[in-house]
Amino acid sequence: MSTTNRPRDPHSLSDDIIAMSIGPSHPAMRCPIKLNAAVAGDHITSMQVELGFMHRGFEKMAEYTPYNELIDLVDRLNPVNSPSNALTFVTAVEKLMGVEIPERIAYLRMVFAELARMASHFDCIATAAIELELTKLKLLMSESLNVLLDTIETHMFRPSFGGISCSLDDNFSGFIRQLFAFVSSRSMEGRRYMSQGGIFHKRLAGYGTVTSQRALEAGFSGPNLRASGIEYDLRRHCPYWLYPKVGFQIPTGTNGDCYDRYVTRLYEIEQSMLIIEQCLDRMARLDDEQVACAALPVAVKPQGEIYFAVESAEGELGYFIVGRGEDKPYRLHIRPPGLAEAGALADVLTGEQMEQIVPLMGSFNLSGAELER
C-alpha cells in the first residue's frame, strides 16, 4: 500500500495520510477535473486541481475561422446553455460594429437567454439530486430540463448578426404560458423538497462555505457570488439588450454555503419566468412594422476591440474581440464563467469529507467545455 508516511501531521484526524488522485474521466463528476487529494481517514487534508482535460484550442481556431462560421462553433461550447454563448458573441460583434438592433430582436434574445438559464439551473439541481439519491426531486428537475431544451431546439435555429432566425408562430406566448404552468409546478414541488429541515438542507447546509469577502476576492460571478450575499447581476449593474425595461428581483443567499447556491438557482428560475412573460407582453404591444432584421453593413469586418459580458447561468460570460478589419477576428478571448470557481475549488474542498466532493463541485455548476474552451 503506497501510503506516504510523512511525519505525523499534528492536527490531522488520523496519522497516516493517503495520497489519492480522483481521475479525470469520472462518471459521477460531470466535468472532467483531476483532483490530487491527500486524504486522512475520510477527510481531505490538502488538494490540487488539474484542469485542461477538455481544452479544445477554441481561441486559436477562432483566429482562422470567419465570423459567421464562428457562430456555430461558439454554440458547441456549452451543451446545456447553448444559446447564451451564441447570443453573446453576436451582440459583441454588433456592438463592435456599432449596429443597433430593433426592440423585437432584443426581446426575442432575452426570451431565449432566460430559457437557457432556467435549463442550466434545472440541470445543476438534477445532478445534485442524483448524488443524494432523491429520485423524486431528480425526476422533477430532469422532466422540466428536457421540456425546456426541446422548446429551445424547436423554436430557435441560429442567431445572426443584427437579428435572430427563429420560428415564432402566433400562439408562441400561449405555448410558453402552458410550458410555464408545467415548469413552475415542478419547481414549486422542488422547492418543497429543498426546504429547511429536509434531507437536502441537512446534507448540504454548512458545507463548502465561501464568505462574501472571499468570493469577491476570488473573482466569483453569477449565482455563486450571489449565494455569498453580494447582489451583483450584470443584467442590473451593466444592462444590455432591454433589461432595464423589465422588472425583476435578484435573489441572494445569506451564508454562501453549498445549500445556498442551489436555492439561489431555484429562486432565479422564478425570476426568469417573470422576465419572459414581461418580454412577451411587450413584444405583443410592439407595432408590427418593425423591421425584422437590423440594417447590416455590407460585410462583417469590425475594427477595434471590445469586451462585452453577459449574465449567463453559470456566471459572467464575457467576449473580448480584437478586430483588424479582416473577416476573421484577430483575437477572440472568452471570459469563462467557471474558471475562478475552479481555482478556488481546492481550498473550498479541503477539510471536507470525501463524500461531499460531488455535491460541492456540482454546486458551482462548472461546465467543462466552456471552462477550458
Binding site: G52, S221, I230, C238, E316, H333, R335, A340
Partner: protein
C-alpha cells in the same frame, strides 16, 4: 463617473498615459511597470467607493517590432456600475504579478503564461493551466502552427 477617474489620475498621475470612454466605462492606458502601483491604489481605495471585482485579464499577441504583448485588465466597480479596462503594452516577456493584491488574478495569469509564455514576476507557483507539463511551446502565439499536436500517452506522466 468622471470624479472617480479624476481621483485615480491624481493618485497615480505618472502611471496613466491616456484615457478615453468606452460604451459602459473607462479605458485607461498604463505603463507596464506601474501596474502594481495602480492596483494598490485601486485596492486601497476599494472600501471608499464601493467593492471592486477583477473580472478577467486578456492578452493579445501583437507583432509590432518593439513589444509582443498587450494586456487588458478588466475591473468592475460594483457600486459605481462602472467597467474599468486598464490597457498596457509589455516590452520583453516579463511583468509584475498582481496575484497577491487580487487573488482573482491567479487563474488568468496562469492561463496567459500557459498560452503566451508571458512570465509574471512574484506569482507564487506558475504551472501550466491547460497543457500537460512536457508540452513545448505556447499554443496561442502567432508562430505556433495550428495543427501541431503533442499527444500525452505515457501513463507514468499521467499518474
Amino acid at each position: 463617473m468622471n470624479d472617480f477617474s479624476a481621483t485615480l489620475k491624481k493618485a497615480c498621475s505618472e502611471a496613466i498615459l491616456a484615457e478615453q470612454n468606452s460604451p459602459d466605462g473607462i479605458v485607461m492606458t498604463i505603463k507596464a511597470d506601474k501596474i502594481r502601483q495602480v492596483f494598490e491604489t485601486l485596492a486601497g481605495r476599494g472600501t471608499s467607493d464601493g467593492r471592486m471585482l477583477l473580472t478577467d485579464i486578456s492578452a493579445v499577441n501583437i507583432e509590432e517590432n518593439d513589444c509582443r504583448f498587450e494586456l487588458y485588465y478588466h475591473v468592475f466597480l460594483i457600486d459605481l456600475h462602472l467597467r474599468l479596462t486598464l490597457k498596457c503594452r509589455v516590452e520583453g516577456d516579463k511583468i509584475d504579478s498582481i496575484a497577491d493584491i487580487m487573488p482573482a488574478a491567479l487563474m488568468p495569469e496562469r492561463e496567459i503564461f500557459d498560452m503566451f509564455g508571458l512570465k509574471f514576476r512574484g506569482h507564487g507557483n506558475l504551472p501550466r493551466l491547460f497543457m500537460h507539463n512536457d508540452f513545448e511551446g505556447h499554443p496561442l502565439l502567432r508562430e505556433y502552427p495550428l495543427m501541431k499536436r503533442q499527444i500525452l500517452l505515457e501513463q507514468t506522466k499521467f499518474e
